[in-house]
């Protein structure tokens, strides 16, 4: 299996996620503004809140194409490889034999675009593939579990 890119729809999820995080930031800024009006908290706090929230949204949205371009996963006979990150690149290698369980999950955003997140757990840590189509997710789960079983039977 070649290194796969995530489905294009994941960009929509990231886009919504960025907007939501910006929205939360704006809500906090609004609360700070109320605190400024009623309890005379520092006036620059809500301004800072708004600036940071907007900056967060702009940076997150701006990074989405890069984030998408750098996200790769690959599943071979004996291992799962993940690589991601734009400025801070991260490569993870997990041998199939060490995998304890595979979890498929989809929050509201992922459900909206019909994708699923796959979490691979070992005895020490867990790593996540941000989103794949349900068909690929099931196939991945089957493959990982089958390979894990084979690896364990051989051991």
């Amino acid at each position: 299996m070649q290194a796969e890119q995530l489905p294009r729809r994941i960009k929509t999820v990231w886009c919504y996620a960025a907007l939501i995080s910006g929205g939360v930031g704006l809500l906090i800024s609004a609360a700070l503004w109320l605190a400024h009006t009623y309890w005379h908290w520092w006036g620059w706090l809500p301004v800072l809140g708004v600036v940071l929230s907007l900056l967060d949204v702009v940076v997150e949205l701006g990074l989405i194409p890069y984030r998408y371009a750098f996200w790769r996963y690959r599943i071979t006979e004996n291992a799962v490889y993940l690589s991601s990150g734009v400025f801070f690149k991260k490569q993870v290698a997990i041998p199939i034999g060490r995998i304890q369980n595979v979890t498929l999950a989809a929050g509201p955003l992922l459900q909206l675009v019909k994708l699923q997140a796959v979490t691979v757990e070992t005895a020490a840590a867990s790593d996540k593939i941000d989103g794949v189509t349900p068909a690929v997710a099931d196939q991945l789960r089957e493959q990982i579990i089958r390979l894990a079983r084979e690896a364990r039977d051989e051991a």
Binding site: N78, A79, G85, F87, F88, K89, K90, Q91, V92, A93, I94, P95, R98, T122, A123, A124, A125, D127
Partner: protein, 489 residues
């Protein structure tokens, strides 16, 4: 074997623990009663306290009465609870370690505390905690664990198991001088001083304010010489206490290997016996503080899945408390069959070393800048002292960075990975079999890409969670070699 209750001293232990909590309750209760105005209120308050006391004593009794354990050829079964019956069954194959603690007062009664641990992620106490049981129970469990079908007959043959073993089996016992150096070089003084400080803090909160005021007044009027004397006294007491604690804990430390199981025995007032199958070891760690490095001493620890190490140093089981670095290979090889011969480390390059120093300087620089800012704002007259901190701080930062850079490195020794880090003037070397490396992570920022450097993170299982070992600023070539070694294409 039929289900059995714990031995009677367990009830005393349970009651003692309940009593300790009750004392707190009573003290709190009296403080509150003092505030109540009417006598009837005080009366009912007292009745309430009495009721609560009675209830907790009865609950303790019930807890003891409902707690039973059973050792069968299939495993250990523990039953507890009155309303919610809880049954824990532990098969022998799943046991990681068996830990046996014996306080000196239980020695004449041949009783001990047994802690049976599995790799499961359940509660804090390990899964099977038997507070006070006869020693024979522990022997029986050990015998079953080693696959003896008729353990009772086998036990009758060898009355005392762990220590009076076949003389050909590997055995290590700490010498008095080694224990002495270990205790002397333990850096356990700082926490003890902190404890004394905490005690002082608590006392000042408990004692009426007037007494404290008087005391403080007296302290101020005492000559400075006296104060220094007092400081030295506290320090000496701290040192002595730290020394005594370490000597007590590792008194007669003995490591014996029987049938692929390591047995550690140590302790004076509380003797501890831990048995650990060699195949359960996740990694071996050699640890040296800079002081021990100067004294040419190192400590060998084992990382295991389970919680046997919980109350020991860093939650890791001590295999050899103190040993000369050049004797580690020879001493450890008979105990751990897979122990690889020592291999030269691939160190971090010159650029990597500089980056370690730079990071350390940045970290200290930020800290000092923040401190200077705070002092400049609130205590401007102390600014001169803070200015003196700068050169000292930056010197320490440089040394620390240099230390980290010089000690970081990796090596491949057959089927084993050796990782070494040096942070806060403590060098740690991990030796990990390939099958125990849970995952391998490589991180590289765009800035490091130019220098062909990256960070290597290895995830291991230790205790109840993940243990992450990161060696920073390795060159790309070395990392690729390790990646190929970990997962050959």
């Amino acid at each position: 074997m039929k289900p059995k209750h714990l031995a009677w001293p367990a009830l005393i232990q349970f009651l003692w623990r309940t009593g300790r909590n009750l004392v707190l309750l009573w003290v709190l209760g009296f403080f509150l009663l003092d505030k109540l105005a009417t006598e009837t209120a005080v009366f009912w308050g007292l009745v309430g306290l009495g009721g609560l006391t009675l209830l907790s004593v009865v609950a303790t009794g019930v807890r003891y009465w409902r707690f039973t354990y059973q050792v069968t050829p299939a495993g250990v079964t523990i039953q507890r609870g009155l309303f919610v019956r809880q049954v824990t069954h532990i098969p022998y194959a799943k046991i990681q370690t068996v830990q046996r603690n014996q306080w000196f007062y239980l020695r004449p009664l041949h009783l001990e505390r047994l802690t049976i641990e599995t790799a499961g992620k359940q509660d804090d106490d390990g899964e099977g905690q038997l507070a006070v049981v006869p020693q024979s129970v522990g022997d029986l469990i050990e015998a079953y664990r080693h696959g003896q079908v008729h353990p009772v007959a086998a036990l009758a043959q060898s009355a005392d198991t762990a220590l009076s073993q076949n003389p050909s089996e590997p055995r290590y016992q700490i010498s008095w001088s080694a224990l002495n150096t270990y205790a002397l070089s333990s850096l356990g003084v700082v926490p003890i001083i902190l404890v004394l400080g905490w005690l002082y803090d608590k006392l000042t909160k408990l004692a009426p304010e007037r007494t404290v005021d008087q005391l403080e007044h007296q302290l101020v009027t005492l000559q400075t010489g006296w104060l220094i004397g007092l400081g030295v006294l506290v320090l000496v007491c701290g040192l002595l206490a730290s020394y005594a604690t370490v000597v007590q804990r590792y008194y007669h430390f003995t490591l014996v290997k029987t049938a692929q199981t390591l047995n550690m025995t140590h302790g004076f007032f509380q003797s501890k016996r831990v048995s650990l199958p060699v195949r359960r070891i996740q990694a071996v760690k050699l640890k040296q503080s800079i002081l021990r490095q100067w004294l040419r001493l190192t400590t060998v620890q084992a990382l295991t899945a389970g919680q046997a190490g919980e109350d020991e140093n860093d939650r890791e089981l001590v295999l050899l408390p103190v040993i000369k670095p050049n004797q580690v290979d020879a001493t450890l090889a008979p105990f751990i069959s897979w122990w690889p011969p020592s291999t030269a480390l691939i160190p971090v390059g010159r650029l990597g070393c500089w980056l370690f120093v730079r990071n350390s300087l940045l970290l200290w620089g930020f800290g000092l800048a923040a401190l200077t800012g705070v002092v400049w704002w609130w205590l401007p007259n102390l600014l001169r002292i803070v200015m003196w901190c700068w050169p000292v701080g930056l010197l320490i930062a440089t040394l620390q960075g240099r230390y980290a850079g010089r000690n970081a490195g990796v090596a491949l020794a057959g089927a084993h990975l050796v990782l070494q880090t040096g942070s806060w003037f403590t060098r740690e070397r991990f030796v990990v079999p390939r099958v125990r490396v849970q995952s391998l992570e490589v991180r590289q920022s765009v800035w490091l890409q130019r220098g062909q450097l990256a960070h290597l993170t290895v995830k291991l299982r230790a205790g109840n969670a993940a243990k992450t070992v990161e060696v920073r600023y390795l060159d790309r070539e070395t990392i690729e070699k390790i990646q190929r070694w970990y997962l050959p294409a």
